[in-house]
């Protein structure tokens, strides 16, 4: 019985070591997901794939329709940019540059016809997201929901 308990304690120790030591080792991949959302007041619609984020958007905006136009996942290395083609000859460039504590530093650039129209640098909480919005599109606006998760 004592031997059994000892074995359990050893295994628990090894498990704890493996589980909790994960952050100590370098993680160099960032799973980045970009959702392109069209928000408008022309109809009443809620895309079921946007269920998680729409409640937050609705607390701020008065749009009645939220449609998911595009959902692009990218497995990016640090300092490697990911490109997402947006409606209206726009391009979204996201680049995870490094970690700042538990946050991912992202350089985000929105281009229109190869001209940079919006640039920002954000520290995104791991496994969280930010929404950037404003560009006019089809009687509504475009919202870009960018989420990041270090792997």
């Amino acid at each position: 019985m004592v031997k059994f308990i000892k074995t359990i304690v050893i295994l628990t120790g090894i498990f704890c070591f493996c589980f909790f030591s994960q952050p100590a080792f370098a993680k160099n991949r960032v799973l980045t997901d970009v959702k392109v959302i069209h928000a408008s007041t022309s109809s009443i619609h809620l895309d079921p794939r946007l269920k998680g984020i729409v409640s937050e958007l609705r607390s701020v905006f008065k749009y009645t329709s939220y449609r998911l136009l595009k959902d692009q996942s990218m497995d990016l290395k640090f300092n490697v940019a990911g490109h997402v083609n947006l409606p209206g000859e726009r391009t979204l460039v996201v680049l995870p540059s490094d970690m700042d504590g538990k946050r991912i530093r992202y350089q985000i650039n929105i281009k229109k016809k190869d001209r940079s129209i919006f640039q920002t640098q954000v520290l995104l909480k791991n496994n969280s997201s930010i929404t950037i919005g404003g560009p006019q599109f089809n009687d509504g606006v475009l919202l870009f929901n960018i989420s990041g998760s270090v792997q």
């Binding site: 004592v2 000892k6 304690v9 050893i10 628990t12 120790g13 090894i14 704890c16 070591f17 909790f20 030591s21 952050p23 100590a24 984020i53 409640s55 937050e56 958007l57 607390s59 701020v60 504590g101 538990k102 946050r103 530093r105 129209i117 919006f118 640039q119 920002t120 640098q121 954000v122 520290l123 995104l124 909480k125 791991n126 496994n127 969280s128 997201s129 930010i130 929404t131 950037i132 919005g133 404003g134 560009p135 006019q136």
Partner: protein, 156 residues
């Protein structure tokens, strides 16, 4: 209090025998004893009791071996020290790997906790370091419920 004579109590005499009285009182009683038969008798009784008691104590003390006493004390001290240091590991036996694994686990948990790994960092989902745009209207919004960060810019 039992009176031996009109002047002194038995307690006074007992204290006299034990040499617990102030000097002046001691001398007064000493003089008194020479002419008071009652007090003198009680004094003799107390003195004999005291002598018997002291002899008995002396005999008991002589029975104690100081070397053995020292050894016993040392042993007790060692045992108490061993107990305090050994308590942590006594349940683990002599398995060094078990000890190392436990220490490693504790260290990792501490490290992870201090880095904020067990608890997600508080605050907004994203901290905006800077925004650079040609458009004049830019808003940074944080939702109340989930603290979701929204950057809003108007192209018009």
């Amino acid at each position: 209090m039992e009176k031996t004579c009109a002047k002194y109590t038995s307690e006074d005499l007992s204290r006299f025998v034990d040499n617990e009285l102030p000097q002046d009182k001691y001398q007064t009683i000493e003089k008194h004893l020479s002419h008071c038969p009652h007090c003198s008798l009680l004094y003799d009784q107390y003195t004999s009791i005291s002598t018997v008691f002291n002899n008995h104590v002396d005999q008991e003390i002589l029975k104690i071996d100081p070397v053995k006493l020292k050894q016993n004390l040392d042993q007790t001290l060692k045992n108490s020290q061993k107990k305090s240091f050994g308590n942590i590991f006594e349940h683990f036996g002599k398995n060094i790997y078990l000890k190392l694994a436990s220490i490693a686990a504790i260290l990792m948990i501490s490290l992870y906790t201090f880095q904020g790994g067990l608890f997600s960092p508080s605050g907004p989902s994203a901290i905006v370091k800077f925004v650079d745009t040609d458009f004049t209207s830019v808003m940074i919004i944080e939702t109340q419920k989930e603290k979701h960060t929204i950057i809003w810019f108007s192209e018009t």
